[in-house]
Amino acid sequence: MRRIPALLASGILILACLLLIGLQAGSPLLYSPLSDPGGGDHANPAAFERVRGDRAAQLLPLISDLLDSPGSLVLNIRSGDFEYAARDLQEYRQVSRNLDSLVINLDMTEGEITEFRKANQQNLAILTELFNGTGRWNELQTLEIRYRDSGDSQMLTTITYEGEALRRRIQDLYRDYLEQDQVMRGTGEKFGLDTTGYAQSVVDFREIVSRIDRDQHEKMTTLQTTVTPGTRPYRLTLGIERQRVSYLDTVNLEGLLWEHRKDHPDEVDLFIDSRKVASIPTKPDGSFSYSHLVEHDRAGTHTVFAAYSGSVFSEIRTFFVETSGTSLELNPPSLHDRRVGFEGVLLAGSTPVRFAPIEILAEGKRAGMAHTGEDGTFSADVKLSPGNHKVNAFFSADTFPLIFSESATFEIFVPEPSPGIAGEDGLLANPLYAAILAASLCASGVGAFLYLRRQRPEIPLPSPVFHLPGENAAKDSDDEDLRLSDDGGPVAGVVPSAGETYAGDTELVGDLSCLFSALRLAVGRRLTLLYPLSLTPRELCAMCRELPIRAAVCRFAKSYERAQYSGVSVPDNERDMIAGAARSAMEGLGGIDH
């Protein structure tokens, strides 16, 4: 009787435990510093990793190196020592790359350091072009001597024109270099670094420009005095429709080759920034035209001239490419299979920017790359580590006449893959696993039931038949089975009447044992005891304390013990009393044939 509530309580507790375990099974981590990163007052230090290496300590020496590098490089260019200049340029490029990496590592993609970095990148591009330009200038000097010596006036004119284009370009470079001066020196001075090397580079750069100006002026003067009118069989003119253009505008160039032979189609070479961009066939009237699409041209002034047959040159024209702003729009990133999908569009005003590189940044660090298509759209699938990420897209306009732009930042959470149950937050999140859990619970229940059944005694509980004195104790075979023990001794379940006689004390004692066994069995059934046969008379009495037959059972137990263990013969009145107590108890248990 008492076991049922206990079993129920145990069952409920087991189910509750299994449920709690099941809820946590998907992500078994109960506590982690990461789940308690702190609040407004402070952050939990245990939730963060220590910074590896002293990254910040590298920054100032790097900036110092970048302020010093141009000084040595420009000085070597000025002195014409191109071998050392090439080495300086290589080192400068390497230090710049180090700064780029460090700035990204330090998550400083904006602000003063980034301004410095951009100015430095500009300087690197300027000085690289200065190095190439001055190298070509020196070659032109050598060629000039050679052509002058050989009397090749046509080639002399060609290289003089090219020299003129170079001069203008180097002047532009100098202007650009001066524009970086404030940021470069300002940053250096703020950090208490020596900027004299950088200041000297500006002076040396100016010296280079002045020298080239001077030399070119002399050449042009010489050219104008040596080339007399009428010596050239052709005249070539060149015009530009629009002087100021911007990204994806077209520069329309038109010209006319005078005195050409009508029966012979001629070809005019077109040079932009001293580089030949096209050979254009002339029309029958000698005119020619060319459309140049502004796409990868740097912002600033560009020089154009045309040449016919390497001996007839047009005047030098210029056009100016203006910088355009851009807007980078990024759609909210999507998550699939731990990969984050990015889509967006890059526009310059309303014009799509095509074939432009787009960096995908996570926490300011490059996580992936994409390129825009014809319509300016881009898409990328980037694998990110589990956790929260701040992501955005960045367009770096290094080779475009465009201003860099950055998209809005989105926060995205990449879930931690559960071991064995990828993509599931908890065990119950997947119906399959919930079903498995339910099935295992049912199986456990059935197993427990069967186990308990096996643990019950296999003794088939007899339905004891109790006979009052005078009744036939054994009328049928069933009764016979009950009455006979294995050894053919006295039977259980027969309550002798008070008037029956017994052969002797030994016999009585045997009867009393049977009487006790019968009573014990009956009480055991009433109380649904698992092991009633292990009860002693006193325990039987104690077990009946809640039953109305307690007095009769205890009286029987007391007399039974005395009769059983005292060693003296049991008087008749005592025997009657024992039998009376047993009968009374049996009747209390439900009467005869209970």
Binding site: P33, H42, R50, E112, T409
Partner: protein, 285 residues
């Protein structure tokens, strides 16, 4: 019986601690239990009212993480204490304390801001490193301290300052933006008032348990030790400080824990109750 005792111990240990920020009864990372353990070992005098401040000019009063404003009369008492040649160390990142600082006659001002730096200990923008910025004895022998979400100070003599690669992250994006400029920020400043010295530390989080776990060789522990032993007498304010915050039950339990006599009395009572229970059971059987 043993189970009941175990349960009792578990309940008492649960009741004797809290998770309140800065609380001396909080043994978690955001409490100050370890610092207070050191202070108690140093026989620190805990006071709840400034009338209890001792006379003489050989004391250092630590006011750590005040949670409420100071009344004018309290400021007056503190000023007298300071001008009498004592030292006050105020540890707070709240601008509210500027009223107290100005009342003490100091020019130091706290600017509650999100100070961030590239020079950091943990890979988190709030973990700012600060370096000695003067010759003050408080910073002697300490190469650096690690801050945790600090504010910054203006005025006074800098004692510790962040590196030049620091900025106030006004937009909260943890990154250096165009409008944010790099500069050094003072995080510990000293100011002489009368014959005394006022120190202001703009980050109370440097003394929480979590920061102590950084390691004994780091400056935070050394700084706490310097403060505790700077003057012959060390006093800790417990009237306004958030370090004294705790539910009443915890206060009672800790009162028992901290007093040997009450501890002995409670143990005697427990044994008495246990004995009565045992005797009663025996009688029943």
């Amino acid at each position: 019986m043993i189970l009941v005792l175990f349960g009792l111990v578990a309940v008492l240990s649960h009741l004797s601690s809290t998770t309140l920020e800065y609380s001396r009864y909080n043994p978690e990372w955001n409490g100050t239990s370890r610092l207070f353990q050191d202070m108690i070992e140093r026989d620190a005098l805990m006071i709840t009212r400034f009338h209890e401040l001792p006379a003489g000019g050989d004391s250092l009063l630590l006011v750590l993480a005040p949670g409420e404003e100071f009344a004018p009369d309290e400021i007056g008492l503190l000023r007298s204490f300071l001008e009498g040649g004592n030292t006050i160390v105020l540890v707070s990142d709240q601008e509210r304390e500027n009223l107290l600082i100005s009342g003490l006659g100091s020019t130091i001002r706290i600017h509650h801001a999100n100070l961030t730096s590239i020079d950091r200990y943990y890979d988190h923008p709030s973990s700012v490193l600060a370096f000695p910025a003067g010759q003050d004895p408080l910073g002697a022998g300490i190469s650096r301290i690690v801050l945790n979400n600090p504010s910054y100070l203006e005025g006074g003599e800098p004692v510790f300052a962040s590196s030049i690669l620091s900025w106030v992250d006004a937009d909260g994006d943890s990154r250096l933006s165009r409008e944010e400029t790099l500069q050094r920020f003072t995080v510990i400043a000293a100011d002489r008032v009368g014959d005394g010295v006022l120190y202001v530390i703009a980050d109370p989080s440097i003394f929480i348990n979590g920061m102590r776990e950084i390691g004994m060789d780091e400056g935070n522990y050394a700084l706490a030790r310097q403060i505790i032993s700077a003057r012959p007498r060390f006093i800790v304010e417990q009237g306004h400080s958030r370090t004294a915050h705790a539910p009443e039950a915890i206060r009672v339990v800790n009162l028992v824990r901290e007093s040997t006599i009450t501890k002995m009395a409670v143990i005697t009572l427990i044994f008495l109750a246990g004995s009565i229970l045992v005797i009663k059971r025996r009688e029943e059987t």
